[in-house]
């Protein structure tokens, strides 16, 4: 039985001690190359394109909240200068209109926020302004869901969300930019 003994000898295990080193090497490689890429951003829905010019809807001016951002990154809100810091509160006040003022939206469902910019406006400013407008809507929705269901909008169920969406729809229209101050 010399044969079996030699086969027994071949059963010798491979030394697994270096396995950890190999794994470590791979681990370090992946650690270095990993960028846990979180792509986040402001989600918007663009209006569909149509070749016909939009029909001139007779809009009650009290329901339109026009925001203009010019090529020097200045804000003009309903014909008046405004700082970006004040924009959110002004928008909220306009949409909710708690004191039923005559120059603000009749109902949140009728309110339209219109954002217009020049071609020379910096993208950063544009996004900051857009963000403020969206934040105003988010806060209003949160307040509404807090009042109705006692929790924040993002924790609501689908039906509850739909209900709030009906009361406060987000209407931010991005108008075609005017052609001032583009880079040449």
């Amino acid at each position: 039985m010399g044969k079996t003994s030699s086969r027994d000898r071949m059963k010798n295990e491979v030394n697994a001690g270096s396995m950890a080193d190999i794994a470590f090497l791979l681990l370090i490689f992946f650690l270095v190359t990993t960028t846990i890429a979180e792509d986040k951003g402001v989600l918007v829905r663009l209006p569909p394109w149509s070749n016909e010019p939009p029909e001139n809807l007779k809009m009650n001016t009290r329901n339109v909240f026009s925001v203009l951002v010019n090529a020097d990154d200045q804000l003009l809100v309903r014909g008046e200068n405004m700082r970006v810091e004040d924009l959110k509160d002004a928008t909220k006040l306009f949409i909710s209109n708690p004191n039923k003022e005559a120059d603000k939206a009749e109902l949140p469902t009728k309110a339209i926020v219109s954002l217009k910019n020049d071609r020379g406006t910096k993208y950063k400013t544009f996004l900051t302004v857009y963000n403020e407008l969206k934040a105003a809507y988010t806060e209003l929705r949160n307040e509404e869901s807090e009042r109705r269901f006692g929790k924040l909008y993002e924790y609501c169920s689908r039906e509850q969300r739909d209900e709030i969406k009906k009361i406060i729809p987000v209407v931010i229209s991005e108008a075609e930019p005017t052609s001032y101050g583009d880079e040449s």
């Binding site: 960028t35 569909p48 394109w49 993208y123």
Partner: protein, 155 residues
Amino acid sequence: MATFEKKRGKASPEVSTASLPDIIFMLLFFFMMVTVMRDAELKVDVNTPEATELTKLEKKSLVNYIHIGRPKVAYRDTYGTKPRMQLGDKFATVADIPLFLEKHKATLPENQRQGITSSLKVDGSVTMGIVADVKTALRKANQLKVNYSAGKRVD
């Protein structure tokens, strides 16, 4: 005293390192899963602005990326310093957008196509002119779900 030393000498317990490879492998697999290899090298400088109202893009395969920014220093001799758009791994113009979107669409099954999002990664210092042109092109191509990529602002 002597007994003391003897006791110590006897008990020399080593921690078993046999499970070390397993632990390391587990970590390795974790990092292999979360790693995303950059598929396209960026040829434009993109420093996205910061915002608070952020939505996370969930499904990577449903997203196509449009980068807009000034060309990196290495490409300035050829492409100048005016903001340019990068689709995939090369510079492109607005006219290339429909084909780019169509190519991405073709890789997906029919029932997922309405969930396609375009992620606009735009440098903060770029003016809105080129962004407006891209937006118009996207609307014409009926790609209406758009995400303005932005970092988280902490205030």
